[in-house]
């Protein structure tokens, strides 16, 4: 079976800079792939390139085994759904309406049913009628996650799905995305919280300066060497009863720190 998405030797240029270079990566059905890296490392660009939203200077992007440039809008939406980092909504639409836009290919009634089911999953069934601009930023983030879930697409790409959410909602988000992987979807997400990334993802790709510097299961991808190279951190992955935790300090931070390691 072809991978849900694949980038082959992909390069993307923005202005004069190559913001993604020689990146080859793929995700398969049933797995949760995390894309991590410092700010400006190319995480969002990788997602956009994979979806055909960013023009490739070099290389190839495939969705479900097909070159993304050959897919029309409908075929592309049937293969992948995307939750961008941008959480702004232009008008004060009710939450159910925003969530229903994830299933625009269905009849209005069926899309509405999907929307209500997805809102229930993210814990917002009670707020289905509320306008999204009358909600907190975190609640709006969950409505947009519900839109992604309502798509039932075989590939779900979420750019920082946990941004702006409280710890409980972050964990809920990752649980929901894990459940999507278990139903057979490929899930690709970018994350800044390395401990959450280690806990939630089957596999991580680490970007630095637009290049892929490590790839593999969290334990291998978050080695002390990679933490130093990609994030400028002095640290390691530790196992705890609640799951793996990245214990790290800035490489040039004075030590010993009065508050100990940041956990």
């Amino acid at each position: 079976m072809s991978p849900a998405f694949a980038l082959h030797e992909a390069a993307v240029r923005r202005g004069r800079a190559l913001v993604l270079q020689q990146v080859s990566v793929e995700a398969r059905a049933g797995e949760v792939l995390g894309v991590i890296g410092a700010n400006g490392a190319g995480k969002t660009t990788l997602l956009r390139a994979a979806l055909g939203l960013a023009r490739l200077e070099h290389g190839r992007a495939e969705l479900g085994g097909e070159d993304v440039r050959r897919l029309d809008e409908r075929q592309r939406a049937a293969r992948a759904a995307y939750l961008p980092q941008e959480r702004r909504v232009g008008w004060n639409l009710p939450a159910w309406r925003v969530a229903s836009l994830g299933a625009a290919h269905l009849s209005p009634l069926a899309a509405r049913e999907r929307a209500h089911a997805a809102l229930a999953k993210v814990g917002l069934a009670e707020l289905a009628q509320r306008g999204v601009l009358d909600m907190s930023g975190g609640e709006r983030g969950r409505v947009l996650l519900a839109r992604l879930l309502a798509s039932h697409a075989p590939l779900l790409m979420a750019d920082e799905p946990g941004a702006g959410l409280d710890p409980d909602a972050q964990l809920l988000t990752l649980e929901l995305l894990r459940a999507e992987a278990q139903r057979g979807a490929a899930v690709v997400l970018t994350l800044h919280d390395l401990s959450l990334a280690a806990r939630a993802c089957d596999r991580l790709v680490v970007l630095s300066g637009g290049r892929l510097v490590a790839e593999g299961p969290p334990r291998a991808a978050l080695s002390p060497e990679v933490l130093a190279q990609a994030f400028g951190l002095d640290g390691r992955l530790e196992e705890t009863s609640a799951g793996p935790v990245v214990a790290a300090r800035r490489k040039d931070a004075p030590r010993p720190s009065p508050i100990g390691d940041l956990r």
Binding site: L51, D72, R76, A77, L101
Partner: protein, 332 residues
């Protein structure tokens, strides 16, 4: 797009208002008619009362209705497309372009010939619309389109000023100026007939673009991944709104505020969904413009008030009130 019971009720109420205002436009006027004269007008359209009713009042009311509807719909589409509550039908420069087209032929001395001003305004608007549709296909961000609109508006404004500058006589100047102030007085059925086709095409394109406008609420990238043919839908929205605006300006000159205010008035009842706002915005635009035209006809002044002046005078305070209420709801 399906209409639920609330939509049907709202549109029903608005349609009733439109019909009531058309009736008002037929019944009220400078020359009061007796009941017997109304009966005569109905029985014999060629009689003197018939002429007043069918050749002066009726086309004027219908022109106000279709121009208002076109501006209301174009305003709602522009606000949806640009995700900007301040957008109006003129925001991308189409009104200014159509005004320029009219100003040029009036200044050149062709203003008296039937249909020339309207034709020239419409052609200028269509050219602007084509340029904008091409720009919208190339640049997807609303901010970029707005900036192009500002540039096009300023340039048309400058060229219109140039026409004023080189106007051969003060009479021509007054003629151009008077046309630009906007009016539906002295419109005949031919003027309306010529405007209806571009308006119908424009309305059809806007209706087609509706589901794209809803999707654009979530931003360009979410819309691009939604499965809808966004390039086509965006192009239809720009082309449709440009045709509506151009045809409205060709029929009535430049009439402000209706296209800006109608969608805002509607949102208080129909909610914010950019697709559901379209039809009621068109009907509200018709109501506003017919109301303004009735006011222009009935307020006793030596020189009849121009429609564009009335809409701005009534519309601006109304708009400030809407902004006040909206700001209160934003503060929570």
């Amino acid at each position: 797009m399906t209409l639920d019971a609330a939509d049907l009720r709202l549109n029903g109420v608005l349609l009733t208002c439109v019909l009531a205002l058309v009736a008002g436009g037929l019944l009220l006027g400078e020359v009061p008619l007796t009941l017997a004269q109304y009966a005569q007008a109905l029985a014999d359209p060629g009689s003197a009362p018939g002429e007043v009713l069918w050749r002066i009042r009726a086309p004027r009311s219908v022109a106000a209705a279709v121009v208002g509807a076109a501006l209301g719909l174009a305003g709602a589409v522009m606000q949806g497309l640009l995700r900007n509550p301040l957008a109006d039908p003129g925001v991308l420069g189409v009104s200014g372009g159509a005004g320029l087209g009219a100003a040029v032929v009036i200044a050149a001395g062709f203003g008296a010939e039937s249909g020339v001003i309207e034709g020239s305004a419409l052609i200028a608007a269509v050219l602007m619309g084509l340029a904008l549709t091409a720009l919208a296909a190339r640049f997807r961000e609303p901010e970029t389109l707005i900036l192009f609109g500002v540039a096009i508006s300023s340039f048309s404004g400058a060229l219109t000023s140039l026409v004023f500058n080189f106007a051969p006589s003060p009479v021509t100047l007054a003629e151009v100026f008077s046309w630009l102030l906007g009016s539906v007085a002295n419109r005949d059925w031919g003027d309306i007939g010529r405007g209806l086709l571009p308006m119908a095409i424009g309305a059809g394109l806007c209706a087609y673009s509706a589901r794209g406008l809803v999707m654009l609420s979530l931003g360009e990238e979410s819309a691009a991944m939604s499965g809808l043919p966004m390039a086509k839908l965006r192009g239809a929205a720009v082309a449709g709104a440009s045709l509506l605006t151009g045809a409205a300006v060709a029929m009535a000159g430049i009439v402000g505020f209706v296209g800006l205010a109608a969608p805002h008035l509607v949102r208080t009842r129909a909610g914010a969904d950019p697709a559901r706002v379209l039809l009621p915005s068109a009907l509200t635009g018709a109501v506003l413009l017919m109301g303004a035209d009735l006011a222009a006809r009935l307020i006793p002044t030596d020189i009849e008030l121009k429609l564009g002046v009335v809409t701005a005078l009534l519309g601006a305070p109304l708009f400030a009130m809407i902004a006040w209420r909206a700001a209160r709801s934003w503060r929570g």
